[in-house]
């Protein structure tokens, strides 16, 4: 598992050098070895996985045609509905929820033959940047288990980084795929809003949420996107745009590509060593024939305040459904309203309550115009900034996070935690595709580079990312057990 990628494992299975059964056994052996320390998983689905692997092996030996990801062990964030398998969103209010249906991406991955090893831990309802807001336990960063893996898809990122699975899916509302990808030294893509069906993704902020892959390299990201990017009539916002073969653009050619480098993303508050890492990556791309210019996205600084009104507003509405009636926790009371209040108060954790309160306030009579409507107008300006930039540039490159993974327990103030999303939030507000990939290390901890593209131009983003990856000389190793003794070895 330690040296494998999806592409390599597929090749080995094709050549009968390894079976799907051996691969899933290796995945669970690695999980046994390391998950006690990393704690990436909420739920493991060992027996189902082994059975599915055996079916694939049998079909292969019968010469049957198999799906494009047949036999690949993977993990799903615990906010993706899996029929008959616990789906908690890492919330006590859904501690016993067993969905009666599969999310669209779950169906697509199963049809492609991917094998789920389990469901991964997350910040409760995807609200957080460290996975410390899980209602159950905290996941640790495989590169240094004293540190957080990022969030909210922290379990998914950690499971890939630790070599427990070959890829995972996460969800990204304000950076929840890219920030943990950066902290854990893996690749994470938030696709264009509408590229991947949200059917069966437990809703947080519906105009911002998007599902995407966390993988070890760019080719794997393209391989997973080839499966999950598809229109779905059950999500009316899923786009009626044909899915290209995302591996077709992986040719290493960036000649003449125009890169915009927004100065606002290299401002105060970003660790100078992160800036240096990202700048070196840009220099490398320029040396390969790309052109880079400094640009301005003037409304950048308003991203966080706009997001932290819009996302909680949508969340306060989406989370109204947790009332103890249809599923999940119920705290009995004499009357309906009391039942709602007791159930919600005991079921939701502090951050979720904070956002429900903030969102309810921002939408409440008398404050709607001042907060929510104002934020929506600023969202327009942020989107326009990108529109202008993308009329001249093919991709925009920034750091993914202001710094590297921080120690668990180090960030207590909510507003300070929100600042972690400073580089990632705009892509959600504008609906753009954005990818994080490793570009170096600081004191043994991974640094993330972010590439943003035009709507539905995932191929362009992947092209540049692949060219960089192939030429960066970065070798990302998987931490050995026990992970505490090992550090990230990536160097430019």
């Amino acid at each position: 598992m330690k040296n494998l990628t999806v592409a390599k494992a597929l090749d080995m299975m094709q050549k009968k050098e390894i079976s799907a059964r051996e691969l899933i056994d290796a995945a669970f052996a690695r999980i046994d070895e390391i998950d006690g320390e990393v704690k990436a998983f909420m739920t493991l689905t060992h027996d189902k996985a082994v059975a599915a692997a055996s079916v694939i092996d049998a079909r292969r030996s019968n010469g049957e045609e198999l799906g494009q990801l047949a036999g690949i062990p993977m993990a799903l964030k615990d906010n993706l509905c899996t029929k008959g398998i616990l789906t908690t969103c890492s919330s006590k209010i859904l501690h016993n929820f067993i969905p009666p249906y599969d999310a669209a991406v779950v169906e697509l991955l199963r049809d492609a033959g991917a094998i789920m090893a389990g469901k991964t831990n997350m910040d409760e309802f995807a609200m957080g940047s460290s996975t410390e807001n899980s209602g159950f336990f905290t996941t640790r960063n495989p590169w240094d288990t004293e540190r957080v893996p990022g969030g909210s898809s922290g379990g998914s990122a950690a499971s890939v980084a630790a070599g427990e699975v070959l890829f995972a899916l996460g969800s990204d509302t304000g950076g929840s795929i890219r920030q943990p990808a950066a902290f854990c030294g893996v690749v994470g893509l938030k696709p264009t809003y509408g590229r991947v069906s949200r059917y069966g993704l437990v809703a947080f902020a519906s105009s911002l949420d998007q599902i995407g892959p966390l993988t070890r390299d760019i080719r794997d990201c393209a391989l997973v996107m080839n499966i999950i990017a598809a229109q779905d009539i059950r999500d009316t916002t899923s786009a009626d745009i044909e899915t290209p073969d995302y591996t077709a653009c992986l040719d290493g050619n960036v000649k003449g590509m125009k890169i915009g480098v927004p100065r606002e993303y290299f401002a105060e508050g970003i660790d100078p060593r992160v800036k240096e890492s990202v700048n070196k990556a840009i220099e490398l791309l320029v040396s390969m024939g790309a052109e880079a210019d400094e640009i301005s996205l003037p409304h950048t600084e308003y991203g966080i305040p706009a997001y932290y009104l819009i996302a909680p507003a949508e969340a306060s509405s989406n989370l109204a459904r947790y009332d103890g009636v249809q599923y999940g926790l119920r705290v009995e009371a004499d009357n309906l309203i009391e039942m709602y209040r007791k159930t919600r108060s005991q079921g939701f954790g502090p951050e979720v309550k904070r956002r429900i309160m903030l969102g309810t306030y921002a939408l409440s009579s008398g404050y709607y115009d001042a907060y929510y409507l104002k934020a929506l107008k600023v969202r327009t300006l942020i989107k326009q900034d990108f529109g202008h930039a993308f009329s001249r540039y093919d991709v925009i490159i920034t750091p993914t996070t202001p710094g590297v993974a921080f120690p668990a327990g180090a960030v207590e103030d909510p507003l300070t935690m929100y600042m972690n999303d400073v580089c990632t939030i705009a892509a959600n507000l504008a609906g753009l595709p954005a990818l994080s990939m490793p570009c170096g290390s600081i004191d043994g901890l991974p640094v993330g580079l972010q590439l943003l593209g035009k709507p539905f131009a995932e191929s362009t983003v992947l092209r540049v990312a692949y060219a960089y990856e192939q030429n960066s000389g970065l070798e990302l190793k998987i931490p050995n057990t026990p992970p505490k003794e090992v550090r990230f070895n990536g160097q430019i």
Binding site: N96, I98, P100, Y101, Y193, G194, S207, I233, T236, T237, A239, Y302, I304, P305, A306, Y308, L309, S316, V325, Q326, Y327, G328, R330, E332, A333, D334, N335, L336, I337, E338, M339, R341, R344, S345, F348, K353, R354, I356, M357, L358, T360, Y361, S364, Y371, L373, K374, A375, L376, K377, V378, T380, L381, K383, P414, L415, Y418, L429, A430, G431, P455
Partner: protein, 95 residues
Amino acid sequence: MKITREEVAHVARLARLEMTQDEMEQHTEQLNAILEYAGKLDSVDTKDIAPTAHVLPLKNVFRSDKIRPCLAREDALANAPKSEEGMFRVPRVID
């Protein structure tokens, strides 16, 4: 102070959340810090700017009016904390 304790209590009622005195204090303090930060938006000129609730240029999305399979009643009720006669059971609403 942008939001008072009384307003926090009112919002908690709207959101169907119960809070202890301590929680109320904490929420008041934290919401004020966040709202103060959000006040940054006041300095942006948004005159004549249309709001963006949604990034895609979609209006109404239609599909054909065909009957498709849906959840069986027992599956829909399987997660219910309480159900009876094929329905969700809740505490008495009307006296």
